[in-house]
Point group: C2
Chain length 326, copies 2
């Protein structure tokens, strides 16, 4: 059954099953923000053929990734999620089952965090586009800002980088990665299709009482995140090449240089890149098995990739190598 066969009213009724019942049915949804907390709001658009495609992404995976990207933006602000709204434009010929898959994928990703879909809008277009706005809350003094990094802070990543890029490669070119085990292969694909927003890190920062932390997420790549933070904070950074974690399985497939390139510029790993005092960072690494300290923030504004082993020369990181939308 296609969308234009079902009709708008019946379609809305089907999609409302995935939404918070008390929120839909009015011109807007009502929501409480806890006293003393600031509202956090972030918007992302995903376009068929640009951010997802039938070749690499099922409807449920597209829904999952759309929700995950937005929850990751909330995590990157140190916020707790309150809900999302979904604006959809789609061709009349689209299968209703695809749409239901999309919503199911969003709900699957949101459910562990108790985050509802608050409603949205749906309209006709020649291209499927998904616009998600995610709402969260944070005590203003606990918000994670890009501009708050200080010289002397260490740089910490909450997990390995490059897995999402590797998974995409395997989806586009299944003949590749013959040296990988089946388990490694599916773990890399999973990293691309079902990224995990690191809201657990936000929770851990609260539990450890770590308040003074700057940073952002690595959705546009690790290098991009470090550069954005340094630019916003008017500082520099030194990254130690051998400390940047990438999935061990990659060495059975590609060169170390290629793996480093994917880790730095691949994007969509949705980890957090944090700047904080060393003592706090070490406590965080101890609690989060996946995290690693990869370098430090410097007063000198250059952003350098260094190699203490002396194998590679110092290499400045540049924004232009990151993902550009145009």
């Amino acid at each position: 059954m296609q969308v234009n066969q079902l009709g708008e009213q019946a379609l809305l009724k089907r999609l409302q099953r995935y939404c918070l019942t008390e929120a839909v049915g009015d011109d807007a949804a009502l929501l409480s923000v806890a006293s003393g907390q600031a509202l956090v709001v972030t918007t992302d658009m995903l376009i068929d053929g640009v951010h997802f495609s039938d070749r690499t992404t099922s409807a449920t995976d597209a829904g999952w990734r759309a929700a995950a990207a937005n929850l990751s933006d909330l995590a990157a602000m140190g916020a707790e999620p309150l809900g999302i709204t979904v604006g959809l434009s789609l061709p009349g010929m689209l299968e209703v089952s695809w749409l239901e898959g999309l919503y199911q994928g969003m709900v699957d990703c949101l459910a562990p965090f108790g985050t509802p879909i608050l409603g949205g809008d749906i309209c006709r277009s020649s291209v499927t586009a998904i616009a998600i706005t995610a709402l969260g809350q944070v005590r203003p003094e606990q918000a994670i800002r890009r501009s708050a990094a200080q010289a002397g802070d260490v740089l910490l990543v909450t997990g390995a980088h490059g897995a999402s890029r590797a998974g995409l490669e395997l989806l586009l070119h299944p003949e590749q990665g013959q040296g990988l085990t089946e388990a490694d292969r599916s773990a890399l694909i999973q990293a691309h299709q079902r990224p995990q927003p690191r809201l657990d890190v936000v929770q851990m920062l609260r539990e450890l009482g770590i308040a003074r932390v700057a940073g952002m997420d690595s959705s546009d790549g690790l290098a991009d995140a470090v550069l954005q933070i340094c630019q916003a904070s008017r500082v520099g950074a030194q990254l130690e090449r051998n400390l940047i974690p990438f999935p061990a399985s990659l060495t059975a497939w590609i060169s170390e240089a290629q793996a480093m390139d994917w880790a730095l510029y691949g994007g969509e790993d949705f980890e957090l890149v944090l700047c904080l005092p060393r003592a706090a960072a070490e406590r965080l690494v101890e609690q989060l098995g996946s995290a690693a300290i990869i370098g430090s923030i410097t007063a000198e504004p250059n952003v350098l990739l260094r190699d203490q082993s002396g194998l590679h020369p110092d290499q400045p990181l540049r924004l232009e190598q990151g993902f550009q939308h145009f």
Copy 2:
């Protein structure tokens, strides 16, 4: 200059001029919601060729209408606006000046209400799509719900209907409406291109201490609004044909039957359709020159268009005649 010539970073920098400075530059924007107020959130998508087109809409008009439609949804909830986010997908060939016009139009509409653009997202697509999420606040007990109409309430509209549909007709067929004065013609076109969200009505309801009010806006048509309210409240309504206000100038151009059709089904007038006790409604009409009581809510679930003059038979209103997106 086209978007793909300017590049993403430079484009973002240009568009940030239209945004609240302290809100942009992080993964998400921070915003305060006043204590005791609920957050109100609404999302709308606008697609090139569906909701606006170069034939009838300049860039600034498209921006104005996009912002106005969202502020109208907030007014329809009885809320005060806090800000909007803008998700944009657009072809690389789009002129940068068109985009700047779009943002200028949004800012022009938002400025009188002190409402900022909080940020958003921008990405590439073959079709220009604008996804706006508007945020507002309201004391929960003062929220205007569709489901709160009661038998015995009167039905009130905050202004004339049919003007936007008439303006669209004049834009599509400039040879029409020869009987109109230039002033009337441009007032109708203005109604289509620059609708006014009725946030002034929300303010007036507060000043008059009117809390018990149900309703919604008439963006999808007056008939649609009455039917949606009746369905949500499990009541019916009787509308008196001769009380429904449409622009007087229309009678110099089209038949009364055609004018009534546009008033009921034309849509996009962005007035509020409210249900409230008669005494409160009369005070509101007294304060708002444009408002009119057009009928009443009944326990009997039918929605009827009546004519006390006896010229027309009773006519049931049907949702199917309203605007369907598919």
